[in-house]
Amino acid sequence: MIRYEVPASIRKDLEHDLILQYTELPKFPAGRAGLLRLFLQAATDSPESLRELYPMAASLVQVALDTHDLVDEEQESGGKIGRMTQLRVLAGDYFSSRFYQMLAQAGQIDWIRHLAGAICEMNRIKLQLYLRMRQLKLTAEEYVQHMVSIKSVLFQTFSLLFDHPVRQIWPEVLKAYTRCEVLADELMRAESPSDWTNSWSYWYILEQHEEGERASIAGNIPDRDRLKELLNRFGAVHRLRKLLEESVGTFKDKLAALDMPHLMPHLVRELREAVQPFERLASGMDPSYCSR
């Protein structure tokens, strides 16, 4: 895994007592933040303060917008909006305002504009995915591609900071790494009934059914035994492992473009090590993997 220490200044934001009291937050994008930080260190001469600021700001927006994904009226009893939903809305808005403040305090106005553009794009993709999900018109691969786009679009913006050839390589490495993350997370939650709806396995199994059968499968949350039976029947976990293995291979191929003496051999070494947990997970050797 790529190591990334969540800076104290945003840890304080994320651990606001009301937020902790009423809701859980989505996963912090430590892997992508760490990846960006490694690239900024290796391929730019930006001051250290900015190398710290950019991953921090992008991560905070990611958490802000992902927190809003948790807003779902059906989750609360009787359809009535409760404190948990209210706090999710407000926490997301709070993190968004903090991201703006961070960049404003540092005088990084261009980056406010760049990231604002990326936020618009992310919301466009999220809404597109949401509508396709509601219509049950989504394949498992389309689901992964949407998730990769949603998780990488903010970080991808930073390619502007790099010179050729890293400017071209950064989005490819980022997307390949994010795909590994998405698939690894899907593997981890594949056997959990509470995570079933809208998971990769869900879309994969729906895809194996005729259109007329999908609504009844989608409408029922299976218990643990039934889920295991479904996963086995369609070889879903095996397929996921295979996809993860292929994605790790793709990531390593992308690194080859960086593996030139005048570029960043030390970065390449570090990144090769970073995907080892994904490899172990794909081979079934590390059931304790957790990308947090």
Partner: protein, 324 residues
């Protein structure tokens, strides 16, 4: 001078801002554009852009920056309304279905985030770092205030000071910042932008107190929402806090509030409204709103005697007496 005259005098600029608002929220995703335009087309007083434009008369004309500031602040305000309707589970706003009710909560979240990002994209075209520091600081305070408000839901022990701090963050800050940023966008002297901030702050406080009074006493047909929406959400406003201080009303109100809370706001709140309306809380809240209006007008004193100053005074008077 009448309020409509002020709008008429700024009509040309307001039309430009209206077009820029519409332009800003257009995207290549149909539903995102439609949901964003839904609230935009519902109209609204556009009070923040008006404040920006009037404050902009106190410096060297710079319509480009001024319009960007105005568009951005209105988008921030609209994004917050879209999210507020999810928080309040509101079905109507300005007499029309909310984004949350016409589509659903998730679409409202995406539309609000999209509008907020558009607001940042627009304001980021203004290169003055101080403008961003002022705006972003206020936005953090506003967001913090919104979260802190949760602590006060159905809290009958809250003080008048708690209430004032809450509405400062909820409403007054954005109006104060509208005035200040309008002045900053045209490079007005610092003492001018400070005076305008103070005007906006006090006018904003009066605006929210008036809003809370209208929620208890206003006409549903004019407001576009049923009276008593605040207490149904657990939001205890100034007239209610004053009424709770009256020993003759206190026990009855505490019992009503406990019942409304237990029913999750879904009950007949007529008796509660009657009690508050019959007590002195309404008059006391009106008096405090008027004091804020006086302070707002007093804050304008050091400013040059131009038409914009008289317009701001007129708006302050309107805020103090508005019934919609």
């Amino acid at each position: 001078m009448k309020l409509l005259d002020i709008y008429a005098r700024k009509q040309e600029q307001l039309q430009v801002i209206e077009r820029e608002l519409e332009q800003a929220v257009r995207s290549d995703h149909g539903m995102l554009t439609e949901a964003s335009l839904h609230l935009l087309k519902a109209g609204g007083k556009r009070i923040r852009p008006v404040f920006v434009l009037l404050a902009g008369d106190f410096g060297t004309p710079n319509p480009e920056y001024l319009h960007r500031v105005a568009v951005s602040l209105e988008l921030i305000h609209m994004a917050s309304l879209v999210h507020d309707d999810v928080i309040d589970d509101a079905d109507t706003r300005r007499g029309r279905p909310t984004v949350k009710s016409k589509w659903d909560s998730r679409v409202a979240m995406y539309a609000g985030d999209f509008m907020f990002a558009k607001a940042l994209a627009v304001i980021a075209q203004v290169p003055d770092p101080e403008i961003h520091r002022v705006l972003s600081h206020s936005m953090v305070q506003m967001a913090t205030g919104e979260m802190e408000q949760i602590r006060y839901y159905y809290n009958t022990k809250q003080t008048i000071r708690d209430y004032l701090l809450r509405i400062r963050r909820k409403t007054a800050l954005l109006i104060a910042v509208s005035c200040r940023l309008g002045a900053m966008a045209v490079s007005a002297p610092r003492h001018v932008s400070r005076a305008l901030y103070s005007f906006g702050y006090n006018a904003g406080m009066a605006f929210q107190i008036r809003d809370d009074l209208l929620d208890l006493c206003g006409d549903e047909r004019i407001l576009g929402k049923p009276p008593g929406s605040d207490i149904r959400q657990g939001n205890i406003t100034l007239p209610v806090i004053y009424s709770l201080l009256d020993p003759k009303l206190r026990d009855s109100l505490l019992a009503d509030i406990a019942m409304i809370r237990a029913a999750g706001g879904n009950m007949d709140i007529g008796p509660f409204l009657d009690t508050v309306r019959a007590g002195g809380g309404i008059e006391r809240a009106e008096a405090l709103a008027n004091r804020y209006i006086e302070k707002a007008i007093a804050a304008l004193k050091p400013l040059p005697d131009i038409e914009a100053k008289r317009s701001l005074e007129e708006i302050a008077v309107f805020i103090g007496t508005r019934n919609f």
